[in-house]
């Protein structure tokens, strides 16, 4: 499983999510995540149709198929639950 994280410097919700993801990535070293700044990664943002709200987190399976998409802020517990449930996908 892989997580694509879309955020922007002008979005305070994205800034709030940064330390939460940093903690998760430290606790789950096997977790693969990629961060994309919305303003600098327009092509990939368009590809994944990120066009409503930031931050957006897209959970992909091994075949790069979207499992789940989260928009806005999420708690660490909520993210951990989703990651654990989809770990082997």
């Amino acid at each position: 499983m892989m997580v694509l994280k879309f955020g922007a410097a002008w979005c305070s919700g994205c800034l709030v999510m940064k330390p939460i993801w940093a903690e998760l990535e430290k606790e789950l070293p096997w977790l693969v995540t990629e961060y994309y700044d919305y303003d600098e990664s327009q092509v990939i943002a368009d590809k994944y149709q990120v066009n409503e709200k930031l931050p957006t987190f897209i959970f992909l399976d091994k075949n790069d198929q979207e499992i789940l998409r989260l928009q806005g802020e999420a708690s660490k517990t909520e993210l951990l639950k989703i990651i654990t449930a989809n770990k082997d996908k």
Partner: protein, 383 residues
């Protein structure tokens, strides 16, 4: 409500009364009043009662002017120029060369008016009015006896200021500025630039609110202005509730990106300018622009607050004192975020979810104030 109808009936009765010429032994009392103003209604009741008694009966001629009626302002201006005072509220009572702004039996205005009438009638020296106010004491659990009248306006200042402060519009600029500042080698430069942004933001807000307050005081407490502010507040409140309902997961709308990106680039240029003075000027100019533009985002909270403030007929120093208090609570979250970041060298953002809940509380508060402004303005006059 009874007072409201009383003043309406009194006004109507005066409309149908035949106009009589003023006798030489009559004293003229000029009364500038406003529909819906409880102090005006109280004065009308007092005058109606007084004029039934000797020696005032048939010897006092009352000239009434409803403040929102065409031509009233011109008449009032003549008096304000002649007697050199600011018409900071209603009712305004003028007898000879004496005037009173506001009316309250507990404040002694009734006594002062009666004494002035006596003086005018008997050519006796005047007595200065007293300004003592009767407290409205309420027993509250834990807090004990609280003077409701004395604490209503300070409480409103704290609540509205804090709610306005949680408005995320200007906060994102500060957060981004902090991320830029945290990467700096010079701590002094970091503190100075950040403080310049915070101080300028506070000054811009203060200037805006003071200008708005003076505008309202200048045009007078006109019914149409109050109605307009009430409708703006109603719209702003409904918009805040809509935002609360729609933005359940917090987050930032992407359609806001364009303007913010431009601001960020300017912020970067300002912060990384080698010349400190130019950087400082850049930050101040940017803080000024951002806060002015983002004022729209506050959904009218400052405008509504200043309208309520203007209705309370306060001395100038109290008006500005309340505005400073509002600004302090408005800036409190920014100050906390800034000082925590500068001392720990780590950025702590305030979740947009808090902003969402402040939208709900702010929206409800705005709707309540809006309805009071339109239908029960006297409830917002705390003094």
């Amino acid at each position: 409500m009874l007072k409201y109808f009383a003043i309406l009936l009194l006004s109507l009765s005066f409309l149908v009364m035949p106009v009589t010429s003023r006798a030489a032994d009559q004293v003229t009392l000029y009364l500038f009043w406003q529909e819906g103003c409880p102090h005006c209604a109280a004065e009308e009741e007092f005058l109606a009662d007084l004029l039934q008694k000797e020696p005032y009966k048939d010897r006092v001629n009352i000239q009434r002017y409803e403040i929102s009626q065409p031509g009233t302002r011109q008449v009032l201006q003549q008096f304000t120029k002649k007697l050199n005072f600011q018409p900071a509220g209603v009712p305004i009572t003028i007898i000879g060369d004496k005037y009173w702004i506001g009316f309250g039996e507990s404040a002694g205005t009734d006594v002062a008016i009666r004494q002035q009438l006596d003086q005018e009638l008997n050519n006796l020296p005047a007595t200065e009015p007293t300004t003592d106010k009767k407290p409205l004491l309420v027993n509250l659990p834990l807090l004990g006896q609280v003077d409701f009248q004395a604490w209503s306006l300070p409480a409103l200042t704290v609540v509205v200021g804090l709610l306005d402060g949680f408005n995320p519009c200007a906060m994102w600029t500060l957060l981004f500025l902090i991320t830029l500042l945290l990467g700096m080698a010079s701590k002094t430069r970091m503190w100075l630039l950040g403080s310049a942004f915070i101080v300028t933001s506070a000054v811009v807000y203060f200037i805006f609110m003071a200008a708005w307050l003076n505008f309202i005081l200048f045009i007078g407490l006109v019914f149409w202005v109050r109605l307009f502010i009430g409708l703006v507040a109603l719209g702003g409140g409904l918009w805040s509730l809509k935002k609360f309902r729609e933005n359940k997961d917090g987050g930032c709308e992407i359609n806001e990106a364009g303007d913010r990106r431009r601001t960020l680039n300017k912020l970067k240029q300002a912060v990384y300018n080698q010349n400190f003075l130019l950087a400082l000027v850049g930050i101040v100019a940017l803080a000024f622009t951002v806060n002015l533009v983002e004022l729209v985002c506050s959904a009218g909270l400052p405008a509504v607050y200043t309208q309520v403030l203007a209705m309370n007929n306060l001395p100038s120093w109290q008006y500005y004192g309340y505005l400073l208090g509002y600004i302090f609570f408005f800036m409190l979250d920014d100050l906390l975020v800034f000082f925590i970041a500068m001392t720990t060298l780590r950025l702590t953002g305030i979740s947009t979810k808090y902003s969402r809940w402040s939208s709900l509380i702010g929206g409800i508060l705005m709707i309540i104030i809006a309805l009071l402004l339109i239908f029960k303005p006297q409830w917002l006059m705390f003094g």
